[in-house]
């Protein structure tokens, strides 16, 4: 995952922003605890979203506590306390997806980057093994996704829908794990599917220029639309709109304001900045 699931800071209440930050810091701490100091570096907004969603669904957040930031000892942080394994799952998902991202980089990047990846990959191999052993239900969908993605990209002219399908299915499957009955699983799957699809497509839109230059696969290269940006916007809108439908059927109480902010402001704003290449100001250096 790539860090597109953002909040719109200016529209959050201060206490909501504090809560969001404390989930972010809590996940960072978990990454350090479960794996290593270095894995803290792969902390992402996407996995923060995942952790916060898990905590909200199971209503397992039990308040906040103050502590010191490990990376910056002069900084005081607050951490969200969690009564179940939401952080553990989110940390595992971070490690697993980072590992596959590295593997992917090995096959399609330049010489120097490949060299760097070879250096750090052994460490990730070990962490990945640990995460995969403890959370096989998260490992399976991600490895399946990579396999499906390779299969799809073999056809250089693959369209938007089949290209986005693997990532979408992955996130749908991962979120469906949280449902307690069939109706919930369907809603979570649908929500995950369209958020996953949106993540894949916004990343593709982001990389389009680079991919054209390097002649790499990108589904938007196969689109013959008059205005590619308009086209990207409409495809992305549609994913968000369908995710929002599913979202409305999910009962959330904790962090509700933050999720509403993301669905209605954070994601559309991020989408706009990516598609129209708007310089990000305040919002970018949020935490």
């Amino acid at each position: 995952m790539f860090g597109y699931l953002r909040v719109q800071k200016s529209e959050l209440l201060v206490r909501e922003f504090e809560a969001y930050k404390s989930v972010y810091c809590g996940l960072c701490r978990q990454l350090g605890k479960d794996y290593s100091f270095l894995t803290r570096l792969i902390l992402s907004y996407d996995c923060t979203f995942y952790a916060m969603l898990l905590m909200s669904l199971s209503r397992s957040c039990g308040g906040f506590y103050k502590g010191r930031c490990k990376c910056n000892p002069f900084k005081k942080c607050s951490f969200a306390r969690c009564g179940d394994d939401a952080y553990g799952k989110a940390a595992a998902l971070s490690v697993i997806s980072a590992y596959y991202k590295l593997e992917d980089d090995l096959t399609d990047s330049g010489f120097f980057k490949r060299f760097a990846v070879r250096l750090i990959k052994p460490f990730f191999g070990r962490w990945h093994k640990k995460a995969a052993k403890n959370y096989p239900e998260l490992e399976a969908p991600v490895s399946k996704m990579m396999e499906m993605q390779r299969e799809v990209e073999r056809d250089k002219s693959a369209g938007i829908d089949p290209s986005a399908h693997p990532t979408a299915v992955m996130l749908g499957t991962v979120l469906a794990l949280e449902g307690v009955d069939d109706a919930q699983r369907r809603i979570y799957y649908e929500f995950g599917y369209h958020i996953g699809r949106w993540i894949y497509l916004i990343d593709a839109a982001d990389d389009l220029e680079k991919d054209i230059k390097k002649d790499c696969f990108n589904p938007f290269r196969n689109v013959s639309a008059g205005d590619i940006r308009e086209y990207q916007t409409s495809v992305l809108n549609q994913s968000l709109a369908r995710a929002y439908d599913a979202y409305n059927l999910i009962t959330l109480i904790d962090f509700k304001g933050i999720f509403d902010n993301m669905m209605l402001y954070g994601f559309p704003t991020k989408q706009n900045t990516v598609v129209y290449r708007i310089e990000e100001e305040e919002n970018d250096k949020s935490i």
Binding site: A183, A241, R242, D245
Partner: protein, 205 residues
């Protein structure tokens, strides 16, 4: 039974106005139109029913004896109707209704080129839509409408996806977007500039 106030998300001592507003907001949110063609349509409908029942329940509790104004129907459920006038693809419609998309696609794909009518394109689009393949769905619906511009069913499906593609959807607003970028000069900026200018003026006097 669950607490009707909880269903509407209001406190038990909320005023009638507040309850009405909460009810209206929820009814708008779960309105069948928002879930037309969606694989979650049945779940939204159920939610809508709960909200209606909760609202009725509260009304009943609040004005005992006066007789309550019912919430009335919420319009058609927007659910997918099999049957239709054209029975050429009856089995496909049944499959889609039951969310058996693979089976539906199998029948459609085995239809020879020559028999691929507007309805075929519409149903193909519906399969894609249910799978989450919104882009293909849009293309199929467009073709269906072009082939048979007078069919309301195809038109409704196309309208639905078009709305999704252009932000005018559910709670979405373009309020936060800055369009194609460029200088941000809002009303506030203009006001501030005027105020600054005004200050300068008073300095000189």
């Amino acid at each position: 039974m669950t607490n009707p106030y909880e269903v509407l998300g209001v406190s038990p001592d909320a005023s009638d106005e507040e309850i009405k507003k909460a009810y209206r907001d929820l009814a708008k949110k779960y309105h069948p139109d928002n879930y037309a063609d969606s694989p979650l349509a049945d779940l939204a409908e159920q939610k809508m029913k709960e909200v209606n029942e909760a609202y009725d329940e509260i009304n009943r509790m609040r004005q005992k004896g006066k007789g309550t104004g019912s919430t009335g129907g919420t319009g058609s459920a927007g659910s997918y109707s099999a049957g239709g006038t054209n029975t050429q693809f009856y089995s496909v419609r049944i499959y889609i209704q039951r969310n058996m998309i693979q089976e539906a696609e199998k029948v459609l794909d085995s239809t020879p080129e020559g028999n691929r009518t507007a309805e075929w394109h519409y149903l193909k689009g519906m399969c894609a839509f249910r799978k989450g393949w919104s882009d293909q769905a849009t293309q199929y619906f467009t073709t269906a409408v072009n082939m048979d511009p007078n069919n309301q069913e195809y038109r409704a499906a196309l309208n639905n996806v078009t709305n999704q593609r252009s932000y005018n959807y559910g709670g979405y607003s373009t309020g936060t977007t800055t369009g194609t970028g460029g200088g941000d000069c809002s009303c506030c900026d203009v006001c501030t500039a005027l105020m600054c200018a005004d200050c300068l003026c008073s300095c000189c006097r």
